[in-house]
Symmetry: C2
Subunit: 376 residues, 2 copies
């Protein structure tokens, strides 16, 4: 049986939470899923085979970074992002909308899109829904994200509404632009992004417009922008149920392990975040008992692994004392080992969540996880 372009099958539910599988041509994605971030065609400090070995079924690439360097047309000439970086499983690419606002210079927003100058070399660029779809097609993305505007936070109701409405017009143009890329649209999927800031009625308008357009999956956008965990979970309490139950729901840019647990309890199926990779490079290791800063002097002669409850290759092979030494010395191997462990921690958490949902014991697992992880 050939792999479908895109199919989402639920294997179990537990309250609002769901466990399932997204099937795509390049492979299956077990949900709830965590997608490591591979910004510039690399999950930083990791070989693709080690990313896969950590349990990742899919990674994320950043349109903004890749369009600037090495350039989307160049990646296409080099046979696409998968061949370029040596990752043959699914890749989700964001639309560039979020990062053009946070990273670029001299931005100018209009109904057409965003013109900006590169933070790398000052060169002038324009991102529109149509160009974002074209770039993601040139990259060979498996899951393409609609081009939207991530509403700033805090925002007035009027700002939130106007921003959401523009994103919905861009969602329609994204759909049309995606569908026009025939060879790509027949093998990849397009996700819409709900906006509406922290307002239930705006979120509902956004969801209905997206459903009317029709997407393979639906993302919750505009969260993890500084509102805090409690507010984020409050929004998820009403926003998630507005999205179709038979489609994957993706919470963009989230998050801390306890953020993920709370969002899974509320029905989210997919996550991405730079936290395990970025914080790993600066010395934060995730453990079942909460994060630790491996640079702390108390680890200088600690013979335990980063997380004694972890079964990853890093915890099997090296001590906290050694990794403390590496990170304090600025050694590349320190970044490599910290990243590998942190990604394994995140993937083990997702596997635990999937198993708990499948066995109808998510609340007990989540409460137990929080009691240990947040005890300090």
């Amino acid at each position: 049986m050939p792999s479908p372009r895109f199919a989402f099958t639920l294997s179990g539910t537990d309250g609002a939470a769901r466990a399932g599988t997204i099937s795509m041509i390049r492979g299956d994605i077990r949900t709830p899923a965590f997608m490591p971030v591979g910004t510039a065609a690399t999950v930083k400090a990791m070989k693709p085979a080690d990313v896969r070995a950590s349990g990742a079924d899919i990674i994320l690439g950043n349109t903004y970074h890749l369009m600037l360097r090495p350039g989307a047309e160049r990646v296409a000439r080099l046979d696409g992002l998968h061949a370029f970086m040596g990752w043959d499983r699914p890749i989700l690419t964001d639309s560039g909308g979020y990062q053009v606002m946070s990273l670029s210079e001299l931005r100018k927003m209009s109904e057409e899109g965003v013109s900006f100058k590169s933070h790398l070399d000052g060169s002038a660029h324009m991102l529109t829904p149509e160009r974002s779809m074209e770039i993601q097609r040139l990259l060979g993305s498996d899951i393409v994200m609609a081009f939207d505007e991530c509403t700033s936070f805090p925002a007035t109701r009027e700002e939130s509404s106007a921003s959401m409405e523009r994103s919905m017009r861009w969602a329609m143009r994204s759909r049309e632009g995606f569908d026009a890329g025939e060879g790509h649209a027949s093998v990849s999927a397009l996700f819409g992004i709900q906006q509406g800031s922290m307002e239930a009625d705006l979120r509902k308008i956004s969801a209905d417009k997206l459903i009317d357009i029709g997407f393979d999956g639906y993302a919750v956008g505009g969260l993890a922008v500084g509102e805090g965990q409690a507010e984020m979970l409050r929004v998820l309490d009403f926003a998630v149920a507005m999205l179709p139950a038979d489609r994957p729901r993706y919470l963009m840019g989230v998050g801390k392990p306890d953020d993920i647990v709370g969002a899974v309890e509320r029905g989210i199926d997919m996550f991405d975040c730079v936290l395990p990779t970025r914080s790993g490079r600066t010395g934060q290791a995730f453990t079942r008992n909460g994060p630790i800063n491996i640079k702390n002097a108390r680890f200088a002669e600690d013979q335990e692994p980063l997380d004694p409850a972890c079964g990853c290759p890093v915890c099997a092979g090296w001590s906290r004392a050694y990794i403390h030494h590496l990170v304090r010395s600025g050694e590349i191997l320190g970044a490599m080992l910290m990243t590998e462990h942190n990604l394994a921690f995140y993937q083990a958490l997702m596997a635990d969540l999937r198993a708990a949902i499948g066995e109808g014991r998510l609340k007990a697992f989540a409460d137990g996880f929080r009691a240990r992880y947040l005890r300090d």
Copy 2:
């Protein structure tokens, strides 16, 4: 049959060149051997298993760096350098003599040794032959290097003679200090270091004094200090034959691939150099057709591997275009892949040299290698 503490067996000779095996408790070392440099308890940007997979039988650790961070006593409390870093095969440690002169601050030399301040935190330290032996014992080194003074270059005949004579007195103190560490001396080996700058008569005096003391192996020190390849090979033409034929000969800090080929032709058995690792991190890749700078714009869309004649995992998996992108972007994976390839290149060269010696065709191999490698 238990592994011997130290045995050197020749399996073939070709002119002055030799192929053989050093057998030690932690494993065999095929010679001519290249030892990757693991300065601070890590071969930079490499996991130990990947260092081994590249073909390395032994790595080098730097006494100067390790005594300052994490500290020799600390490494001993953490069960030694092998357990600390996860490398279970032989490790050679240098004596610290060379690097204390090139890296530390406020050095003060005396007959006793060298007092200095750490380049890391300004703390005060003293290195003597006895302390160097103690540090290398605390690290758990398999091959310990005598503490010497690397004669500066250029030096007058008087300076060269006086420096060599001091190194020979320190060689005797190193021998005594090493032998006093009973538990360690019974499982590890001690190498002496010939000095005498570029002068044949001084080199002969040095060799005779070392042979009189008696060592497991003999290093040629004081070369690769700026004299150039032609002068280095001229010195090797007389210096190597002064050392015992039945003991390994180690040319410290060498070198470029063509340096190694020339030194093997003159009877050298062991090498170490930071070149494949350090230059890899800054973009120099070694190929059978000479080194290339992967950051050069001409590689931006080059789909060939770093070296089309290479069988390493990096050349099997990624293109020059991809690695060009990584290195230009400052990505850690760029340093990882460049290092892995360069170490594989060096180890493949050593394997080729060993095979050529074994089959009595070293001159043809060496001439062919140079014709291709140096053709530009």
